[in-house]
Amino acid sequence: MLIIGIYFFVLSFTYNLNAQTDWARWEGKETSYELTPTHHHDYTLDKSSFGMTLLSVLRNTYYFFISDLDGDNCPFEPSCSAFFLKSIKETSIFKGSLMFADRFTRDLNFFKVTDHYSLLASRKFSDPANNYTLHSAKIKF
């Protein structure tokens, strides 16, 4: 009986240690109302070629000085800057630039229709670069 009594005493003692006191419950807490960023840019350098490294540097500069301050405003996924890099990587600097010019114009359109783009869970329009390479086999819906 004594052993059982000691056991329960020790048990209740450990529970008491972890118990929440009224003081801790009602005391004021430091709350931050700062919005946490929902997007994180990928700053890694593409070292596949000199041109891609140079473009990655330019992209990172754009991210650092403009995009990060401006916020996640591009309605497309991938964003225009990421699209530009992907299209150049997938095709060439010339074709990639044309693809980007087209994307940029489409981005200017205020009345984007959901029939033409599928809407992602992030509420962004899916618009992958491979759909615009003029290779029908690469088009994915």
Binding site: F110, Y132, F141
Partner: protein, 292 residues
């Protein structure tokens, strides 16, 4: 003390009653081979009816090492078929082609297995093969052959040939599919490019992207206007800057029109493929249900 003694004795008596039968049972279980071929067949059949085809196939394969049984070969092949291992299914069905009572059914299932491998050209070559043909299910195999034309990029045979294999209730729907496949409502990439070259954005409007087309026109026209006015006002730097932007939007608009027409056509093809596949899938490709 007396109570403890009585309790201990009772415990011994209970143990004496319980233990011997259980040991005998264990002995029996180890003597009778639980993994005998007959037991594996029974277990395989149980799994097969429970639609656990993956494990059923393993049991049937073990059984067929010792015994030869056409029904079990059929079930083994059908198990592979059900879990999408069509190559193995086709090979096993092939084994029942000659000298088996299930030959006709095996031939049909063989064709189904080849069909679902999505190599429709191979399927059509095999469908023409006389040695593999089935006398009972020849019409079903022929129907599958015509369905395969709708599912790949091959040229469609004569309209009458295709339609006559199907029941009257689906004739109008199939005729519609036939027309769509033969004369798809594609947009010409060349027309789209020429239109955009003449009037920026017109190519996009032609492919149904009205908003993008108007945006293209406004962007190109506005930057061109700004370039001209700046040059007129002798603002060389701004003039060249807006000229560059105008060229950027103009070139992008031509490229985008070509891409837009191509995406439009790909979407037409994608929707057609989905519609056709769903139509045939809902009707089980007009195939009879076979199981043993």
């Amino acid at each position: 003390m007396l109570r403890t003694k009585i309790t201990n004795r009772l415990l011994i008596v209970i143990l004496l009653i319980i233990v011997p039968p259980t040991t005998i049972n264990c002995q029996l279980a180890t003597d009778g081979n639980i993994l005998s071929f007959q037991n594996r067949l029974r277990f395989g059949n149980y799994l097969y009816y429970e639609k656990d085809y993956l494990r059923a196939a393993d049991e049937f394969k073990e059984y067929l090492r010792s015994e030869s049984n056409d029904t079990i070969v059929f079930r083994l092949a059908n198990s592979y078929f059900q879990i999408g291992r069509y190559t193995e299914a086709a090979n096993n069905f092939k084994g029942l082609f000659f000298g088996s009572q299930l030959s006709e059914e095996a031939r049909l299932m063989f064709y189904e297995s080849v069909f679902f491998q999505n190599d429709y050209k191979l399927f059509r070559v095999l469908a023409e093969e006389q040695n593999f043909g089935s006398s009972i299910y020849s019409k079903d195999i022929e129907r599958l052959k015509y369905i395969s034309y709708f599912l790949d990029n091959s040229r469609l045979p004569e309209e009458n040939l295709v339609l006559k294999s199907f029941p009257d209730s689906v004739q109008s729907r199939l005729l519609n599919f036939y027309q769509q496949k033969k004369f798809p409502k594609y947009k010409s990439i060349t027309t789209s490019v020429i239109l955009s070259t003449l009037i920026p954005g017109a190519g996009k409007i032609y492919t149904g992207e009205v908003g993008d087309g108007i945006t293209s026109l406004i962007a190109t026209a506005l930057t061109t206007y700004l370039a001209i006015t700046n040059f007129k006002a002798d603002h060389q730097f701004r003039g060249w800057m807006f000229s560059g932007l105008a060229a950027f939007f103009y070139a992008g608009n031509i490229y985008g029109s070509a891409a837009s027409a191509q995406i439009y056509n790909a979407r037409i093809q994608f929707n057609f493929d989905n519609e056709v596949r769903l139509f045939f899938e809902h009707r089980n490709y007009f195939l009879p249900k076979i199981d043993y």
